[in-house]
Symmetry: C3
Subunit: 326 residues, 3 copies
C-alpha cells in the first residue's frame, strides 16, 4: 500500500484515458489481479491472465477496450496497457523525501560546486572540482572522483564509485554497487610480463540513463566510453573501455561487452551475452540471452546462439558424439 | 592455526562421534591431509586422497570406519565425513569478537530501533524506521534503507547496500558488495523511448540464508521477491524482480535469473546459468553450469546444456560447418 | 589533454627509441590518429588504421620503421609499438596527487600499523593488526579486515572490501567494488539442509597484480587462495575458494572459476568462461570467451567452445532439430 489515494476520475485524467464506472471510486495501491482487493487498482495486458481477470476483486482495472468484461465495474481503457501501467506505477510511487541536505559526515572538497537543493547522504566523498547540479540525490557511501560533472535530477544510490572526470547526464538513476570509470583491461606484453596502458579517457553518460546494481563501466584508454541518452542497463553488466552504446538500447543482466564495441540505437540485448571486442552492432538489433557475438551485426533483425537445455544423460551423449567427430 | 585447542575426546563428544587413540591428544587446527602436522586434525572423504591418507602426519584423522587404517593412531569415525568436517570447522572457527557496540561514525536515524546487543561498525547509514534485532552484526560502510527489518543473529559484511522495506530473516550471512532491493529492469515502450515502471514491491529473505559477495537481488515490481529459508547463493548471482527461490536451493556463482522465475525447493543450480523470465523449475532439480534454461522444468532430474571445450582449430571447423547448414 | 608537455627528443630518450624530425617539437597529449592534432602524439600498430595514418594531423607519430611514411614529419620508431605506446601512456599520465595523509573520518584501530607516507581517504575502516607499508593509497569507503597486510605502493580504489587476514603484495591495483576474502560456497548436506563449512583460510595476492572492478575472490576453506605475481583480472571475475592462478595470467571479464581450480602461468582466459571445480589448466593456455571448461587442460594451446551467433529463426530450427535427435 502506498500512502496515496486517487479517485477513478483523477487517474483517468492523469493518464489521459477514458473510463467507466463510479468517478469517485477511490483506490490506494496497485496490485496484480490475483492479489488486488477493493481498494486496489489492477491491470490486464496478456491473455495468460484471463482467468485472473475474471476472478479479480480489484476495485478498478486498467485494460484494453477489446478485453472489456461485465464482471468489472470500474475500469480504465488504454490502447497500450503496459505503458499506462508504467505511468500508473509512477503516480502511486511514494514521494521522494530526499530534501535538500548535506550530511555533515560526508567529506566534500572545498572546490566542489554542489547546487543548493541537492541531497547528499552520510559518509560520501566528493573530490575536488566536482560539479553537482540542482535536484541531484546522492545516497550514502558514494565516492565521486575529481572533475566529475553530474547534471540535474540524477539519483545515485549507496555504495556507487565514480572515478575522476566522469560526465553523467540529467535524470539518470545509478543503482548501488555500480562502478563508473575504472581502468580498462589494457596491457602490452613485454616478454611474459604485462605493462599497463595508462587510461587517460573517461566515461560519458547521456540523459535519462538507468544503470543497474553492480554494473562496471570502464573509462576509455583515450577519448571516451559513451553511453547514449535513454540507455537502460540491467544489473551486473560490464562495458569495457571505449564502448559506444546507442540511444534507448536496453541490455540484460550480466552481459559482458568487450573493448571498443559499438552498439547501435534501440537495440535489445539479452542477459549473459558475450560480445567480443572491436565489432559493431547496427541499430534495432535484438539478441537473445547467452549469445556469443563474435562478429559485427550489420543487418537489423533478431539473433540468437545460446545452447539448449537437455537432460544431463542426453547432454553426455551429445558431447561424446561431438568429440568423436573431431 | 586457530587460537583454540581441543582434546580428541572433547571433539568426539562435540561431534557425537566414536574415536580411537589417546583421548587426551590435543590439536589446535584443521588442515588438509598433506599439510597437517602433529598438532592438526585432518579428514578423509574421497578415494582421490588415499595416498595423502597413507602419508599424512596429522595428529588426528576424521574418516569413515570402512577407511580405517593402522597407520593412523588417533581417529574419529563418522558415517558422513563431509558433514562432520563442516561441524569440526565450526568448532575451530575463531570466536566472533563483535561485541555489542555502535560506532559513533555511523549515522542512525532516531526512529530506527537497534537492539542493545548489536554490533554496528563504522560509517554505516541506517535510515528511518529500521528494526534490527538482537545479535545482529553490521560491519562498515553498510547502508540499510528505511523500513527494513533484520531478524536476530544475522551478519552483514562491509559495503552491503540494502534498499528500503527489505525483510531479512534470522541467522543470515550477507557478504560484501551485495545489493538487496534494487529496482528491476521494468520499462514500457513509448515509441522508441522507455518509460520506467516504478517498483513498489520489496525483497523478503528467509532464515539461514547465505548471500555471496557481489550478488544483486531486485525488489518486486509489485509484491515481493522471495528467497526461502536455507537458500545458499554463491557470489555475483543476479536475481531479478519477483523471483521466488524455494527452501535450501543452492545456486552457483554468476548465474542470472530473469524476472518472475520460480525455482523450487532443494535445487542445485550451477554457475553461469541463464534462466529466462516467467518460467518455473520444480523441486529437486539439478542443473549443470552454463546451461541456458529457456523453458519450465517440470520433472525432477538432472539437466545440462553447456557447450563443449575443444581445440580452437576444431571449433573453427565446427562453426563453419554449422553456418553452412543454414 | 594531460597537464604535461614533452619534446620529441625527451620522449625518444624516455622510451629509448630513435626518432626523426624536429627534436624540440612539443606535444602535450596522446590521441588516436583520427583525433590527434598538432599538439598531440599518436601511434600506429595495425594495418586497419592505414588510412588514418595517411590523414592524421598528429604532431608526432610512434610507428614501426617499416611503416614509415613521408607524410609524417616528426616520428618515433619502435619494434614493438604496442609496448612503446603503453610506456608513452605512462609518461603522460597525470601525476598521482595522493599526498601522505590520513583523513580523520576514517576509523583506524590503534593496533594497525600505517607507514608514514600512506594516503588514506575518507570513511575507511581499518581493523586491528593491519599492516600497511609505505606508498600505499587507500581511497574512500574501503574496509580492511583485521590482520591484513598490504605491501608497498599498492593502490586500493573506493568501496573495496577486504576480509581479515588477506595478504596483498606490492605495486598492486584493486579497482572499486571488489571483494577479497569472502567465504567460499562451502556447505555439507544434513538431510535437505545445508550446514556451513567455516572458512579458516585466506587470500594471498602477489606483486604487480591488477584486480578489476567488482571482482570477488573467496578465501580458502583451509590454506590459501593464491593469485600469482603479475596476474591481471578484468572486471566482475569470480575466483572461488582455493583457486591458484599462475604468474602473468590474464582473465577476461565475468569469467567464473569454481573451487580449487589451478590455472598455470602466462595463460589468457577470455571473458564469460566457466571453469568447473577441481581441475587444472597448464601453462600458456589460451581460452576464447564463453568457453565451458569441464576438464583439465594438460596441453599448451588454444581452446574454444562458445556457441555461434545466428539469426533467431535459424536458431529455432537448430534447437528443434537437436531435440528431435534425442
Amino acid at each position: 500500500m502506498s500512502n496515496k489515494e486517487f479517485k477513478l476520475s483523477e487517474i483517468a485524467k492523469k493518464l489521459d484515458l477514458s473510463f467507466e464506472g463510479d468517478p469517485n471510486y477511490k483506490v490506494n495501491s496497485i496490485k496484480n489481479l490475483k492479489e488486488a482487493g477493493k481498494f486496489d487498482i489492477s491491470f490486464y495486458y496478456s491473455k495468460k491472465f484471463k482467468k485472473d481477470l475474471e476472478e479479480t476483486n480489484a476495485g478498478i482495472v486498467l485494460l484494453e477496450k477489446n478485453d472489456d468484461t461485465n464482471s468489472i465495474k470500474n475500469k480504465l481503457f488504454s490502447e497500450n496497457v503496459h505503458l499506462s501501467y508504467a505511468r500508473l506505477s509512477q503516480i502511486f510511487e511514494p514521494s521522494n523525501d530526499y530534501l535538500p541536505f548535506i550530511d555533515e559526515s560526508s567529506v566534500i572538497h572545498k572546490s566542489a560546486k554542489i547546487s543548493s537543493n541537492c541531497h547528499i547522504g552520510p559518509n560520501c566523498h566528493i573530490e575536488k572540482d566536482v560539479l553537482v547540479e540542482e535536484g541531484v540525490v546522492i545516497k550514502s557511501n558514494v565516492t565521486i572522483g575529481s572533475g566529475t560533472k553530474i547534471k540535474k535530477n540524477t539519483f545515485i544510490n549507496s555504495n556507487v564509485s565514480i572515478y575522476p572526470n566522469t560526465f553523467i547526464g540529467r535524470d539518470c538513476i545509478l543503482h548501488s554497487g555500480s562502478v563508473i570509470g575504472s581502468d580498462g583491461l589494457g596491457f602490452a606484453k613485454n616478454g611474459k610480463k604485462w605493462e599497463k596502458i595508462a587510461h587517460s579517457g573517461h566515461v560519458e553518460i547521456g540523459n535519462s540513463v538507468e544503470i543497474g546494481a553492480g554494473c562496471t563501466i570502464d573509462k576509455a584508454s583515450l577519448g571516451k566510453t559513451d553511453i547514449g541518452d535513454g540507455v537502460k542497463l540491467d544489473n551486473q553488466i560490464h562495458l569495457a573501455h571505449n564502448c559506444v552504446i546507442g540511444e534507448n538500447t536496453l541490455i540484460g543482466a550480466n552481459t559482458t561487452v568487450a573493448g571498443s564495441v559499438k552498439i547501435g540505437k534501440n537495440c535489445m540485448i539479452g542477459g549473459l551475452c558475450g560480445i567480443v571486442d572491436n565489432i559493431a552492432i547496427t541499430d534495432e538489433v535484438i539478441i537473445y540471452p547467452m549469445t556469443f557475438v563474435t562478429n559485427s551485426v550489420e543487418k537489423k533483425g533478431t539473433y540468437s546462439g545460446g545452447s539448449v537445455l537437455m537432460e544431463h544423460k542426453d547432454w553426455l551423449k551429445k558431447i561424446v558424439s561431438e568429440r568423436k567427430k573431431r
